[in-house]
Point group: C2
Chain length 271, copies 2
């Protein structure tokens, strides 16, 4: 899953040895150039390197036509299909689901229609306490119910599933808020995420500039993190006026201590 694709994304993938053909889904949050100008080049290079596996792109409605034009203008033909799925900016939507994860999109507050995304693991099965099961005479056909957290009957006696199970392992979630003004409406969408990326284009000194351009200050990003009860916050999308971002980190940490600044190539493992 690749979220947003600014100019040079293909170079960065190569630099950090991310195998680009493993990307099956690309999510484009909005149509400012720094979030999609790298898409034609990435798709061209995937093609040049022999891709024939379909790719799925989630994006605003104006994107498919321009990407098709950019790709076809030089008489190139892709050897793989692009499936475009159009995002809705009105509400929270489940845009993808497989047996393990769900991806949700939700509206951000920016100058043009913009989506945030949450990638979350589905609830995991309860874990069977084999010893307790054996002692009580639990049989194989009871297991699906126990795994799903449902009570079972043995010889017409109902047993609480918790007697035979441990709680499921934690289901992790990552939320991504690309470009957004401070907006408490985001909180229910991202609540309790293990990891939240939230833009912090400006420091609090430039609050007026942040408000005017529908961006956030580092302090505002930290407030959203705190009110959402997330476990960790990553700040990014810093204005190029800041040659170093220590001050932004500090002002955020005063509100939400579990904050880091994004750096190229950083890897966060949710396990």
């Amino acid at each position: 899953m690749l979220i947003d694709c600014g100019e040079g994304t293909q170079m960065q993938l190569r630099k950090y040895s991310v195998h680009m053909q493993r990307i099956s889904h690309i999510l484009i949050s909005h149509l400012h150039g720094d979030h999609f100008y790298g898409l034609p080049g990435l798709l061209s290079t995937m093609n040049l390197l022999g891709r024939n596996k379909r790719i799925t792109v989630y994006c605003p409605p104006e994107l498919p036509s321009i990407i098709h034009q950019m790709l076809s203008i030089g008489d190139n033909k892709l050897a793989f299909d692009i499936e475009f799925n159009i995002l809705s900016f009105a509400s929270k939507n489940c845009i993808f689901e497989d047996e393990k994860i769900e991806i949700w999109s939700f509206p951000l507050k920016h100058r043009i229609p913009t989506c945030g995304f949450q990638i979350k693991e589905k609830p995991k099965p309860y874990r069977i306490d084999a010893k307790k099961c054996q002692e009580a005479g639990v049989e194989l056909h009871h297991l699906p119910n126990l795994l799903a957290g449902k009570n079972i009957s043995i010889n017409n006696v109902e047993y609480d599933f918790q007697k035979f199970t441990w709680a499921p392992k934690h289901s992790f979630s990552y939320s991504y808020c690309s470009d957004s003004a401070y907006d408490e409406k985001l909180i229910p969408f991202i609540e309790s995420s293990d990891l939240l990326y939230h833009e912090a284009t400006f420091s609090s000194n430039h609050l007026d500039r942040a408000t005017k351009t529908f961006h956030s200050t580092a302090q505002q990003a930290a407030k959203i993190a705190q009110k959402s009860g997330v476990k960790k916050l990553i700040l990014g999308h810093f204005s190029s006026r800041y040659t170093e971002v220590e001050a932004l980190l500090e002002e955020a940490k005063q509100i939400f201590s579990e904050t880091e600044c994004a750096e190229d190539g950083n890897v966060y493992r949710l396990i």
Copy 2:
């Protein structure tokens, strides 16, 4: 003058401290992505950094509409004008001229319409031999003729201008052949250039691949350089299959010794 603008050009300009606002003209040789996918981002960044000075783009006819779309899709408005001039691929054309230089475009032999470019200094004025002029009584009003290499009359006697002048300084020229199969029709367009950039996508082992894709081998590029009587050849556009290009350089040097391989950030001074 920027010739071609692949993805990441703006990053490279920054890396090598080339001040992007000094670029007044951009020449796009053809519409394969590696030659123009960086243009929307470069123009956006110029705008973000406060440009208000017009930029002139020379390009194939399909480009202006797609660039306008890429720039306007996110509701951005440029604070400067883009003047698009459409290239002709039928013949050699003078596309730009000021008091010092001319830029010519000429057709290359590629899969889609593609132009090469030559940037050349105009002929420089003859240089006045002040001592000889004084001795012969040359007057101020004779100077324009002498500078232009025309004979003058003093007291009804005609004098050869060469008596009072030295030859003009050399007018330098740079020729650029982006993507092209081996094509001797290029020779008159680039003849006697001080510096020639010619693509060398393949080594001679892959001559069949070069022919099929309308690219050149390093040896073919060297042959063009030799037959055109240029002073120096730069090879570039190497296929990513070559992790090092020493072999391509060697095969070219056997035909044309004044050959170098292009490297990011190289500077060639014509003085």
